[in-house]
């Protein structure tokens, strides 16, 4: 008689692990979630934007009771150069009506709340315990080995949800060595400011409305870097992430990058007068579709950041994580009916992912990381050109408009080259095919 202590063991109580645990527990399946932090969320870091749609079907109207900061009514995108900022974005009243699109959150608070819901559904969450290894019977994963005495636990299936630096996936030979081009390090500061000051600076009418700003551009010296500012109730989350390869190459550490960001003339007034209350750093998967490990094998499935399921250009990670957790749980439920947890049966997890927005989106952007790796100038040359051109247009001097257009075209030719522009357009189009 094979020993099983639980039907499913989940490694990691982040959004992916908790979502999987929730779905399973609700079905009456015995599940243990093993978390290395003191409590779920204590080790999790995220810029801070959470999408309602990912959790709404699991816990309807969760946002009414969950600890959220502000619901987002405006999303902006900025290009920064040394002395300028080009901005685009959308604010809409459609984002200001319940049930809302997304929220700024703090992971420590949010995950704690989510974990309580999962525990209430009768999943067992075990904290302060590290899973060191997967236990294999031949090829099949049959449990986990933790760092505690008598620390082996057995189950039908293990769901690996231990985050971006998952070595469990690697240890199984599922994952490849993570290249420095496939991961970014992001650092973030939480800067305290009175809510009314935030309302004024970001132009919202009350303290429940929030704004996000995503930032990139030539200001960051040809680095694949993305900064952000999110409004919380009484603070701002400001941060920046850059692909590790670029940080190493340019010998910059991410904290310096954050200081550079805060100094920019368009950013300084937003954060001035605030006190930095918290500082955190985390790795973020950047490699996209091609950096994904194999997502399943006999008795095991990989979800969330551990599966590199992050769509960074869209700032989406937690929602993909939750979706993958749900799908892994559903796959288990189905496999359980057959009593078969082999690779063959669990392959339907991959199928489900492919049918969902998760892999569909990752596939859409699959070539983007490589494109940016090879053509870093795309995020510096073009934004610079746009900024300079917009400046030309806005700067009213006695130069006739037709002359201005000519100047802009000349700059395009000189700085980039017409042929190169065509080539770049062609390459970008091709990478999305």
């Amino acid at each position: 008689m094979k020993r099983t202590d639980f039907d499913v063991i989940i490694v990691g109580a982040g959004p992916a692990g908790l979502a999987a645990g929730y779905v399973l527990a609700k079905e009456g399946i015995s599940v243990a979630i093993i978390e290395r932090g003191i409590f779920p969320g204590s080790k999790n870091v995220m810029g801070g934007i959470f999408y309602r749609s990912s959790l709404d079907d699991l816990i309807p109207d969760f946002y009414k009771e969950a600890p959220i900061e502000r619901h987002i009514v405006e999303q902006k995108f900025w290009f920064l150069s040394e002395d300028s900022m080009f901005s685009t974005g959308l604010r809409s009243e459609r984002f200001n009506i319940e049930p809302y699109n997304c929220f700024s959150i703090f992971r420590a608070k949010f995950d704690k709340w989510f974990a309580k819901k999962v525990a209430d559904a009768s999943a067992m969450i075990i904290n302060e315990t590290v899973v060191k290894d997967l236990i294999l019977e031949g090829e099949k994963v049959s449990g986990v080995r933790t760092d505690r005495p008598n620390g082996d636990l057995y189950s039908d299936v293990v769901i690996v949800a231990d985050g971006v630096n998952s070595f469990l996936a690697k240890s199984l030979g599922l994952g490849k060595e993570i290249r420095t081009n496939d991961v970014a390090i992001a650092v973030k500061e939480v800067i305290e400011l009175p809510d009314k000051v935030i309302n004024d600076r970001f132009g919202v009418s009350n303290s429940s409305e929030g704004v996000t700003i995503e930032i990139t551009g030539p200001y960051f010296n040809n680095m694949r870097a993305m900064g952000f500012i999110y409004t919380n109730r009484n603070s701002l989350s400001i941060g920046i992430g850059a692909v590790i390869e670029d940080l190493v190459r340019l010998k910059i550490n991410p904290n310096d990058l954050l200081e550079i960001l805060k100094k920019h003339p368009a950013i300084k007034p937003l954060v001035s007068g605030g006190e930095a209350k918290e500082y955190m750093a985390h790795m973020i998967p950047e490699g996209g579709y091609y950096a994904m490990p194999r997502l399943y094998s006999d008795g095991v499935m990989v979800v969330g950041d551990a599966a590199m399921l992050v769509n960074s250009i869209h700032r989406e990670g937690a929602n993909l994580a939750i979706e993958s957790g749900k799908l892994a749980a559903k796959t288990y439920i189905e496999a359980r009916k057959k009593g078969d947890f082999s690779k063959k049966t669990l392959s339907s997890y991959q199928k489900r992912l492919e049918e969902s927005f998760v892999l569909k989106d990752l596939k859409t952007y699959k070539n983007l990381p490589k494109l940016l790796e090879e053509k870093r100038y795309l995020i510096s040359k073009y934004p610079k050109f746009i900024i300079d051109s917009m400046y030309e247009i806005y700067n009213v001097d006695k130069v006739p408009k037709s002359e201005k257009i000519r100047l802009i075209m000349n700059r395009a030719k000189k700085e980039i080259g017409y042929f190169n522009i065509l080539k770049d357009i062609f390459n970008i189009w091709r990478s999305f095919r």
């Binding site: 420590a108 608070k109 067992m124 760092d147 505690r148 620390g151 082996d152």
Partner: protein, 271 residues
């Protein structure tokens, strides 16, 4: 044998911050932990159990979230956990708290049998008074040993325990009759890294809830109203302003500092 450990859930005082504008403590985001001294008390009781058999009961007076602390105690090897939670206790000072805990202890003795050793941490890191342990010993009418740093010998047949305790400039070894109350220093033991089955058992265990409906409590002996000490006001101590970092090099450190201190040294008659 039966050990009863009194524990308290406290905000992590090392992480607590002060809002100089409002003159209050910022508790948000400060994790709640078991009072560190109490964890060593639990460890001591469980070590006794490992050696002599029996059970370890744990009692805490606190709000519902103190359940987390009790579960941690269970995961360290305690057998039965009790939460004393009732509005009537709100705002209790140490005198009223020791009364409430005494009342809860009576109930536990009723259920699980007489207690051989009562344990507690030397002091709680939020209040820092170290008064509750001695108060309990007085109410239980048992001998008290504070600041225990070593358990030398436990003799159950002859009903005594030999304990080493810290005193100024040294230590003393006492032989005390059982039952007795021992409050512990962190030096007493090293916390165990609990085996996984203990964590699972703790997660599955029931925390027994005690309140005025199942414990004999005299409401005129607890709570804010009946606490002999009352808080007149709280304030944040004025921040000592940051001084200056002396701009010195290898050669002039001493002379620069001396120049700064000269007026004071003169006043002190040292020049």
């Amino acid at each position: 044998m039966h050990s009863l450990v009194f524990i308290k859930q406290v905000p992590d005082a090392a992480q607590v911050r002060v809002d100089y504008n409002t003159g209050t403590l910022i508790r948000e985001g400060v994790p709640a932990i078991i009072n560190p001294y109490d964890t060593h008390a639990i460890e001591a009781a469980v070590q006794m159990k490992d050696k002599f058999g029996g059970i370890v009961s744990v009692l805490s007076m606190g709000p519902p979230m103190a359940e987390d602390a009790l579960r941690k105690a269970l995961s360290m090897g305690a057998d039965k956990a009790y939460l004393l939670c009732d509005k009537v206790f709100a705002g209790s000072d140490t005198w009223a708290t020791s009364y409430a805990l005494w009342a809860g202890a009576q109930k536990i003795i009723q259920e699980n049998g007489p207690v051989d050793i009562f344990w507690a941490g030397k002091q709680a890191i939020d209040g820092d008074t170290a008064q509750t342990g001695p108060g309990l010993a007085t109410r239980l009418d048992i001998p008290l040993v504070t600041c225990a740093i070593k358990i030398v010998e436990l003799n159950l047949e002859k009903s005594y325990i030999v304990v080493q305790r810290l005193i100024e400039g040294g230590f003393e070894t006492l032989q005390v009759s059982i039952p007795c109350m021992i409050t512990v220093e962190k030096e007493l033991n090293t916390l165990r890294f609990s085996p996984l089955p203990d964590l699972i058992r703790a997660a599955r265990s029931k925390i027994h809830l005690l309140n005025s409906s199942n414990v004999d409590i005299d409401p005129t002996k607890c709570g804010l109203k009946y606490s002999p000490t009352k808080v007149k006001r709280v304030f944040v101590p004025s921040k000592r302003e940051r001084g200056e970092i002396l701009d010195v090099n290898e050669n002039n450190i001493a002379s620069v500092l001396f120049e700064k201190l000269e007026p004071v040294l003169r006043k002190m008659n040292k020049l």
